[in-house]
């Protein structure tokens, strides 16, 4: 078991290293992508600043610095997901459609691991620094004192958010095994579906009614993604919700594994 974990960690390290080398070969592109991604975050920053300013620093009970902390958390979750998972799982429909999935199947490692970890995008990962800066600044401005256990759980909740995003994306991508007939839409449909779901996670939960909040926390739990880590740090949250977030990830992971295994049986190895 330990030997196996060590082996996979080494493989992941090799993947990340090769991606870094590839990025450094095209430094201009890396810098350009980092700058352009920063601009997208700056638009959202501006958006929240305008809202806070217009609503007298009280956006449904959220002050300017609380909104900035929320945005910082959103950037952390989003950029960590984009860097580690997005460019991996979202390639599945294309692999299935073109038959290049065969090349993943014949490799002597777990196929799901290979598919989920092969690419690491450093230009979007650079935004994590932007997220850290924004959360640190707003946390300090809010007057909270530093607490290591609180910070550790915050990091764990962020990682859990990335995990949930990965599982949503992965589950949607697995549908490519089942809907090969609409192959031309194979990559477009799940991609759009993912971002449609993610939209509900990108704003403070107060914009929804209490019933919708319950649904988006316990039935289709997108509010566990950004809202939960943010609330843990600067507001209050119940321990049940935190425990539910971890239980949900485990259940969702098992369900996605079933879908993946069944999907593999359906795979027809097109064009090969």
């Amino acid at each position: 078991m330990i030997k196996s974990i060590k082996k996979y960690l080494t493989i992941y390290y090799m993947f990340v290293r090769s991606c870094l080398m590839k990025e450094m070969e095209r430094r201009g592109n890396f810098i350009l992508m980092s700058i352009t991604t920063s601009f997208l975050n700056l638009y959202f920053l501006f958006y929240y600043l305008v809202l806070a300013e217009r609503l007298d620093n009280n956006f449904l009970g959220w002050g300017k610095n609380e909104l900035l902390f929320f945005l910082g958390t959103e950037i952390l979750c989003h950029s960590a997901f984009m860097a580690t998972c997005f460019y991996n799982v979202f390639t599945l429909p294309d692999h299935v459609r073109t038959g290049s999935f065969d090349f993943l199947l014949i490799k002597p490692v777990n196929t799901r691991f290979l598919l989920s970890t092969r690419n690491f995008n450093f230009s979007t990962f650079s935004q994590v620094l932007f997220g850290i800066a924004l959360t640190s600044y707003s946390y300090w401005k809010l007057g909270f004192k530093f607490s290591l256990p609180k910070l550790l759980l915050f990091i764990i909740l962020i990682l859990n958010s990335v995990m949930i995003m990965y599982l949503i994306g992965f589950t949607l991508m697995c549908l490519a095994f089942y809907f090969t007939r609409i192959s031309s839409y194979g990559s477009v449909l799940p991609y759009r579906g993912f971002f449609a779901i993610y939209w509900f996670a990108r704003r403070p939960e107060n914009i929804f009614s209490s019933q919708v909040i319950q649904i988006l926390t316990y039935v289709c739990p997108v509010l566990l993604i950004v809202n939960l880590p943010c609330k843990w740090m600067i507001r209050t949250t119940s321990p049940i919700t935190i425990i539910w977030a971890f239980i949900f990830s485990i259940i969702f992971f098992l369900l996605s594994q079933v879908l993946w295994k069944k999907g593999l049986q359906k795979y027809e190895s097109a064009s090969s």
Partner: protein, 270 residues
Amino acid sequence: MQISKYLSIIKVSMQDNLEYRFNFFTTFIFMIAPLAVHICLWSTVYGVGVSEANLSNYSYQMMITYTILGHCLDKFTGDVNLQLRVSSEIRDGVISKYLLLPVSYFNTNVSYLITNRMVYFVTLIIPYLLVIFCFRSQFMFNSDPMYFLIFTIAIPAAIFISFMVNHLIALATFWLKDVSSLYVFTQSTFSFLAGGYFTLDLLPTWAFNLLMHTPFPYILYFPAAIYMKKLDPGQIKYYGMIACIWIVVLLILNSIVWKCGVKRYSADGM
């Protein structure tokens, strides 16, 4: 004779586009998510009794109308594939045939644009009318024929401005080889500057005035503001003139950049 060539392109492109109507429909289904989130946001903000004066005198009805109309215009005016298509055609050497054929590349793309927008309109008008029906008590209906007429003129102008800006950026492929990395950036920037994130009236006055002298507000904010009678006739005349100037400037820029680009073009991949 000249027009008949482009009419043929429109006809063929129409058949091609209609094959992808399922795509348009699913686009709408998934794109409804941000609209739903924004409607929830403004409904709750107005629900807690925020002063309209704080939101540039936008009533709840006006804000919901702007949100729906802005979303609708964003979809109708922006051709999401244009930049990627033109860029890849330059990169892969496909444009070589346009240098030999007796048709202009720009006019051909305009023909594609016309059919693409027509199909979008036919496919998405019913879902959007359904959305408006669902929010009929919150949606402002414009009963002023003059404003409505100007609004219907402003939409094709918005589509054309959006097209020319995207086309111009795609032509940068002659120099940069690959502009696809800029794609998400440019789309988000245009959406932000055009008023897709929130109405531009919420910006500080200096920023609003500055933006209105760029082509972006004429893609989304300007038609929506006309519909909602947010602008008086004098402002419509002034901003309409700026929009016309931008159309001419962008046409000239596209023509100059195309000519310079073709000189650099090496027909890679041919």
